[in-house]
């Protein structure tokens, strides 16, 4: 073990791979010293495992209706009680983890690269390209995200795919800003000039040398944004514009439980705890990652 650790924290790594692994090791070590970040990482790990192994973790079929067991309070048989169609809420929450994970992953996959490309292009080329791209970005940034997402979904039609598209459309500008700021700091550094002198095209400079340098601040930003994405998706589901029944989406489940909140409180509250837990997990981890990867940016978010 000692030798592996020594190899990882070696000050003069022999290969790029060793350097990269060593960097991961140092980040990981620093994260482990932040209790909140550890808690966050565990929560997200649990989310991923729950989504992967949902059929084994759930105690019932999330879609199976049992009208004889409607609105039962939490018990040994139904850990979180049952809903108005007799479906087991625990199993639905467990399967809902899949939907939540799919939403945040897809939004991140759609929005982060788009923002990255726009931001890097604006920062690298400067001038009019920068002015136009950042003008558009600033307009999007100055509008309320949730309202914009709502309007887009209203136009595209309800449904989980359209909800994901709408959230992605409202999320990219933040990433573009971060990527632009990062690019501006690297653009005139000597190693970039060296690559250019060797005859690399701007595409190659950007893809091979600028983009990779933006990743750490992008990872921080994406992680911090995850909670907001989850809340927006749940909000769309709650209003009835996101995931459609019978999908066990947490926001939609809360919406169904709304009519029973006074007598059967568990129907609406249980999925809410899941949303809070997962969002908190991303916040904790994001905060920790920022402290490690991007200590300068402080609390500005």
């Amino acid at each position: 073990m000692t030798t592996l650790r020594d190899w990882l924290i070696d000050d003069s790594p022999a290969s790029p791979m060793q350097a990269r692994l060593g960097r991961f090791y140092r980040i990981f070590g620093a994260l482990m010293h932040n209790p909140l970040a550890v808690v966050g990482a565990i929560i997200i790990l649990v989310l991923v495992l729950t989504a992967l192994f949902a059929p084994w973790i759930a105690t019932h079929d999330p879609l199976r209706q049992a009208l004889g067991e409607r609105l039962l309070p939490p018990s040994a048989a139904h850990w979180m009680g049952t809903d108005e169609l007799g479906r087991d809420i625990w199993s639905r929450v467990v399967y809902g983890a899949r939907i939540t994970l799919a939403i945040v992953t897809l939004v991140a996959v759609l929005a982060a690269p788009a923002g990255l490309v726009i931001g890097v292009a604006a920062g690298y080329f400067g001038g009019w390209v920068d002015r136009i791209l950042m003008g558009i970005t600033d307009i999007f940034l100055s509008l309320p995200k949730l309202i914009l997402a709502l309007a887009f979904v209203a136009a595209l039609g309800p449904g989980i795919e359209n909800a994901i598209i709408a959230i992605a459309i409202t999320s990219w500008p933040g990433y573009a800003r971060v990527a632009r700021a990062e690019t501006m700091t690297f653009k005139n550094s000597e190693f970039i000039s060296a690559v250019r002198l060797l005859g690399a095209s701007s595409l190659r400079v950007n893809l091979g040398h600028v983009l990779p340098l933006c990743t750490s601040s992008m990872i921080v930003r994406v992680t911090l944004d995850m909670a907001g994405i989850i809340l927006t998706a749940a909000g769309l589901g709650f209003i009835g514009l996101g995931a459609q029944p019978p999908l066990p989406e947490w926001g939609a489940m809360i919406s169904r439980g709304r009519s029973f909140i006074l007598d059967q409180w568990w129907v609406a509250t249980m999925p809410g705890f899941a949303i809070i837990l997962v969002s908190l997990g991303f916040c904790f981890l994001g905060d920790g990652l920022r402290d490690v990867l991007d200590p300068k940016s402080g609390e500005q978010r």
Binding site: L141, L143, A151, A155, L156, A227, S255, I261, I276, L280
Partner: protein
């Protein structure tokens, strides 16, 4: 709620010496007006674009799907849909500027009238929310910073993060179940009890103000009773954000040398914090409060749905469910415009109040 909408405070321009202060001020005013104008046009372009991607054919919606082709073509021309997109956009901007937002299907009235009727309710709730958020959030942030690393600090930090993690609609529902249904501490959904509804003539549309004008204290009390829970739910989100930002600003100040100097000179800690460290953060806090206030207008969409609050958020959700695009886009425009307006005003306030940015 108020996440990510940080329009970072403007860096002070360093052109001093070349131009007279008056000219400089004029230039910065012009620049400000240009950005404001561009942002508003951007907002209009986005709502226009959303209006175009609706899969429902607006002509079919008017003529019905069994109309003959000639009728269809005529209506299409009358609606101006055969003209180039740019021309359509110009007439759209003209419509919006003259207050013609179309007619809402759900109420059958012009959207602009509906919006004018519902907006005060939202304004009232968001204003009380931000007041609560500032009154509680700022002291919490200061306390957290002055006891950095303590359990109190950790607790306040978690409260701050909860502001990013709790769904507003869930908080509203749980609040209703606990404080209205169980404890009966507050009034239920709506702005007043049903039998008080419509008793006070709306003058400002703010029921608290109207009932004071009418001198009807019973209704005033009843309205407060109804307002307090939704406003507290909203206020929680601004509290979380404001506490977080206050803490970070304070930590910045407390690490400065002048604070050490004050401490070395034996100034009591309470004075160090409130008289020395707190003063310089008042200006950036104004920006934060402005952002948070704008964010509450957005957050009110969910809260209003829960509390059947007859504000713009509720209006918007009803319109969304009916695919009533004129009402949806009108509400989006108004919320967007107010949002932009508040953001820009706090920007300007920052410049005016911070001597370094002047």
């Amino acid at each position: 709620m108020a996440d990510n909408n940080t329009t970072t405070a403007p860096a002070p321009t360093r052109r001093a010496g070349l131009q007279s202060p008056g000219r400089r001020r004029l230039f910065s005013l012009l620049g400000f007006l240009v950005t404001l104008g561009v942002t508003f046009i951007g907002l209009l372009a986005i709502t226009f674009f959303i209006g175009r991607i609706v899969p429902i054919d607006p002509v079919l919606a008017v003529v019905g799907d069994r109309a003959p082709v000639a009728v269809y073509e005529r209506v299409r021309e009358e609606m101006g849909l055969d003209r180039p997109l740019a021309a359509q956009f110009v007439s759209y901007v003209g419509d919006v500027v003259t207050g013609n937002f179309g007619t809402a299907v759900s109420t059958g009235k012009p959207v602009i009238e509906d919006l004018a009727r519902v907006f005060p309710a939202t304004l009232e709730m968001a204003t009380l929310g931000i007041i609560l958020g500032v009154l509680i959030g700022v002291p919490l942030g200061v306390i957290a910073a002055s006891r950095r690393g303590s359990w109190l600090d950790q607790g306040i930090r978690v409260v701050g993060l909860l502001g990013y993690s709790v769904p507003a609609f869930w908080l509203g529902l749980v609040g209703l179940a606990v404080f209205y249904a169980k404890l009966k501490w507050v009034g239920g959904p709506g702005r007043v009890d049903i039998f008080y509804d419509g008793v006070v003539t709306p003058i400002t549309g703010l029921i608290l103000v109207d009932s004071i004008i009418a001198g009807d204290w019973e209704i005033f009390r009843n309205a407060v009773w109804h307002l307090i829970l939704p406003a507290s739910c909203l206020g929680f989100f601004s509290l979380a954000y404001i506490a977080r930002m206050t803490r970070s600003f304070m930590l910045d100040q407390l690490s400065q040398e002048y604070v050490t100097t004050a401490r070395v000179k034996g100034v009591p800690e309470r004075l160090v914090i409130w008289r020395h460290a707190f003063r310089p953060i008042r200006v950036p806090l104004i920006t934060v409060i402005g952002l948070s206030y704008a964010g509450l207008l957005e957050g009110s969409v969910m809260i209003e749905t829960i509390f059947s609050w007859p504000g713009i958020g509720n209006y918007l959700t009803v319109a969304l469910l009916n695919a009533d695009m004129a009402a949806v886009l009108g509400s989006t425009l108004v919320i967007g415009a107010v949002f932009i307006g508040i953001n820009k005003i706090s920007d300007v306030l920052y410049r005016v109040l911070d001597p370094r940015a002047r």
